[in-house]
Amino acid sequence: MEFFRDTNIDFLGKKWYFLSFSLVFSVAGILSILFWHHIPLGVDFRGGTLVYVKFAETPNNNAIRAALDKAGLHNAKIQSYDVPSANEVVISLDLKETSEADLNKGKADIINALETNPVPGKKDLNNSDQVGFDTVRQALIDKNPTHGSPADYENMAHAVINVRDNVKGGVLSSLDDLKGAIPDAALNALKEDFYTGNFGVRNSDVVGPQVGGQLQKQATLAVGFSLLAMLVYLWFRFELIYGVAAVVAVFHDTLITVGAFSLTNQEITLTVIAAILTLVGYSMNDTIVVFDRVRENVKLMRRESLAEIVNKSINQTLSRTILTSGLTFLTVLSLYLFGGEVLHGFSFALVIGILIGTYSSIAVAAPMLVAYTDWRARRSGSGAAVLPTQGKGAGNKGKVRVKV
């Protein structure tokens, strides 16, 4: 089976289309970054409090809003999370309401505000912030309902937490959910100490301003350094202009991907940065494959112009480019579709990045290489040092002399 065979598409001839396509998307992204959504940063970068709450029943956002208002959290943002049947809500507080002096206050306030019908003297078994394995085990040991050994109670406590976290996904609808998992006597003992609230905290992020700023710096450094390292490597393996062209292409990809996050108003989190770095590597891969072929063909095709060589090289590697991109895209797409809510931003970045990264090696890096070499040949008048193109080079020489 073969999809592409001896293609002969004039890619370089379409460079103005490519340029306008790239410009449209880059400019749209830049405009959105500057004037519209800016760069929507995730809580890890901007700081703040984020609490993921799962309810036993379908949550009523108005009731949540009222409860938070009553607790003085007027600026809290409430968003549904995941599919509606998950009954999950994300409640977020601004950095302003997250003080570094008492970092977890915001989170505790949210939990207390949602705790609508607390039972005095008892603890909420669904409140994983306060009640975990240790608390349950201690309660069982104190009550000693089955006259067992501490190891028995340890096992029971594990069973209780397992039912809550793994079987019921974080929220027990009532203590009777534990029936069968632990002896009835133990269950009755727990009922004396615990009750079940109507929600559980699945996840929480509290990030102070200092860490956020620091992460921003780190992420910028990571992207910057990896671009620089690649530039140096390509300079060493090829020539400086190859490195520059590849880095410009990769920068173009990064810009468009970040632009896509801005346009769709999705938050850039730490894992999205990981995805962007991956796409930097991926797009670089793609460009190198083409450049490698150019390097090889320059030695073989001494008569053709650089534009012809580059065109031929793109065509020769086209089959590989499409196949690899297609397959990688397939894996990333499965991540996007099945990877769950947590990986959503990550796989979104990769889905965009792989499309753009493949496009940019053909439409940005290669034309840039040719344009630069032509420009240098015209300017220096001595023909391109990298890629001697006899016929054309001589013509250029003549032109330059006339100018001088």
Partner: protein, 535 residues
């Protein structure tokens, strides 16, 4: 040729076995449960998959610097008194730079004497001339850097001891960021975080100091002093409830680091919980000397202040000479006495901490993420394997074997290095699959090209591998470079992603180039000359 192939195949099988061992170890049983348990023992799951708490803590290194310069000031005062040098004031004017001490009002002709004192007694400091006839004593930069890094190391050590004592197993505790004196603590499986939080953060700095008076307010304390100012070597500290103030010495006779052991106990007369502590031999000697000096009826009677985190817990009179033990009372509950004894045993923090970030992942979310991640990985992998089979037929098997082997080696690597698999790490695995396929496609397309040019299968395979190799090397080096940067600059999950990618790419260099080549050679070997290659 035949023999060569055999050796190569043996090498591949050997490596395969080694990495399978890396994943499973020796499982207790070969049932599904037994294997699952074996895998989880070797490949650790990150907190984002297993649930738990990440904390980023800021170490207030200035605390430790302050303590050190306080000692320097004490030495200066002593030496100045001995040498009869007059001075107006010794202070640290800039709270952000506690490493700088300013000495004011020293007569001009004593300047060289002060320098002599500094160079003999305070070698870690440099003296310079300041404005208005003052002298500036600054801690040397190397010593300052050393002190900061020691403080950080000691804090990590203390936190590790505390977390161990709480029974949290294998909690990674490490430096965070780039020189910001931060600590990253990961507590797997800990989600009832409230108690842990207090235990990690409490400084538990115990000091035994000399107490010279007890007052109800600071004003009263000041009024009681001659001239209304405190003696230079004394400070006022509140008691635990904040309703009394004590006049205590600025420096301590013994402190937390001098403690050999601490146990919770009860007071014999009323069964009130207390904490007993025992001192190491050298400080015990110093403490014995101190108590003989200051006991009732001794040469200079004074009280003993037991100070915890800058609060006076109690200030008993010294009845007789004590050498190596004492007890702390101060309204403990059995639990708080137990916690304090644990903290004293574990070692005090050299500086206070505060929380910069806390992230808690519930175990339920982690379990969901694993399910989703594994599902995505399997779906992606299956699609790729199937496609390769259809598109490259015979050679597709080759690519599929290489891909599966790649995965085995990647996971085996993680097992051997005790690396942690995070959620972005699973994504890294999926990406490795994508990149592994790329190498195969590069090679196969090249072989097809050579075949089209009319080369014989053996020659085409040879050329295909040779030509593709440079490209594969270049692409892998660049990606590994960015993965390494990710590993070092990233934190937590991202760093795990970088690590997975590095392992995956290394494994891929081996499987896509070496293993795949051996399979090709084996196939070619069995074919008659001139028979077509299934690719």
């Amino acid at each position: 040729m035949q023999k060569n192939l055999l050796i190569k195949s043996a090498v591949i099988v050997g490596i395969l076995l080694v990495f399978v061992y890396g994943i499973f170890g020796i499982p207790s049983s070969f049932s599904g449960e037994g294997l699952k348990e074996a895998v989880l023992k070797n490949i650790r799951l990150g907190l984002d998959l297993k649930g738990g708490t990440y904390l980023i803590l800021q170490v207030q290194v200035n605390d430790a610097i302050n303590a050190e310069t306080d000692r320097a000031i004490e030495i200066l005062r002593d030496e100045f008194n001995k040498a009869h040098i007059t001075y107006a004031d010794i202070s640290k004017p800039d709270t952000n730079h506690p490493e700088t001490v300013v000495i004011k009002g020293v007569p001009l002709d004593s300047g060289s004497q002060v320098r002599d004192i500094a160079s003999s007694k305070l070698q870690e400091y440099t003296i310079t001339q300041g404005a208005d006839n003052s002298l500036i004593l600054t801690m040397n930069p190397d010593h300052l850097a050393q002190l900061k890094s020691d403080t950080l190391d000691k804090s990590i050590e203390a936190i590790r001891n505390r977390v161990d004592a709480l029974g949290v197993s294998e909690a990674p505790i490490q430096k965070n960021g780039m020189g910001e004196n931060q600590i990253l603590v990961q507590l797997p499986g800990v989600d009832d975080f409230s108690r842990v939080k207090g235990i990690i953060q409490s400084t538990a700095r115990l000091e035994l100091r000399e107490a010279r008076g007890e007052y109800s307010t600071e004003e009263e304390a000041l009024k009681a002093q001659p001239g209304g100012i405190l003696p230079p070597n004394m400070v006022l500290l509140p008691n635990k409830t904040g309703d009394r103030v004590f006049l205590v010495s600025r420096t301590s006779v013994a402190s937390g680091t001098d403690i050999r052991d601490a146990r919770e106990g009860t007071k014999p007369d009323n069964n009130e919980p207390i904490v007993n502590f025992y001192l190491n031999p050298a400080p015990a000697k110093k403490f014995g000397e101190f108590t003989r000096q200051h006991m009732e009826g001794g040469p200079d009677p004074a009280r003993l202040a037991i100070v915890l985190d800058n609060k006076v817990m109690e200030a008993p009179t010294i009845k007789s000479e004590i050498d190596d033990s004492g007890d702390i009372e101060g309204g403990f509950t059995p639990q708080s006495a137990k916690d304090l004894a644990m903290l004293l045993r574990a070692g005090s923090l050299p500086a206070s901490l505060h929380y910069l970030s806390t992230r808690t992942v519930g175990a339920s979310l982690g379990a969901d993420s694993i399910r989703a991640g594994v599902k995505a990985a399997i779906a992606g992998m299956a699609a790729v394997l199937l496609f390769m089979l259809i598109y490259y037929r015979g050679a597709g098997i080759n690519a599929d074997v290489a891909l599966i082997l790649n995965l085995v080696i990647l996971l085996g690597f993680m097992g051997f290095f005790g690396a942690t698999l995070t959620l972005p790490g699973i994504a890294g695995v999926i990406l490795t699959v994508g990149m592994g396929v790329d190498s195969n496609v590069l090679i196969f397309e090249r072989i097809r090209e050579e075949l089209r040019h009319g080369k014989a299968p053996a020659a085409a395979v040879d050329q295909g591998f040779n030509r593709a190799w440079t490209t594969i090397l270049d692409t892998h080096v660049t990606t590994i470079v960015s993965a390494i940067i990710l590993f070092f600059v990233g934190t937590g999950p991202v760093s795990g992603f970088g690590l997975t990618l590095i392992f995956g790419l290394l494994a891929n260099l081996f499987t896509a180039v070496f293993v795949s080549r051996v399979i090709f050679d084996a196939v070619l070997n069995r074919k008659a000359r001139g028979e077509a290659l299934s690719i």
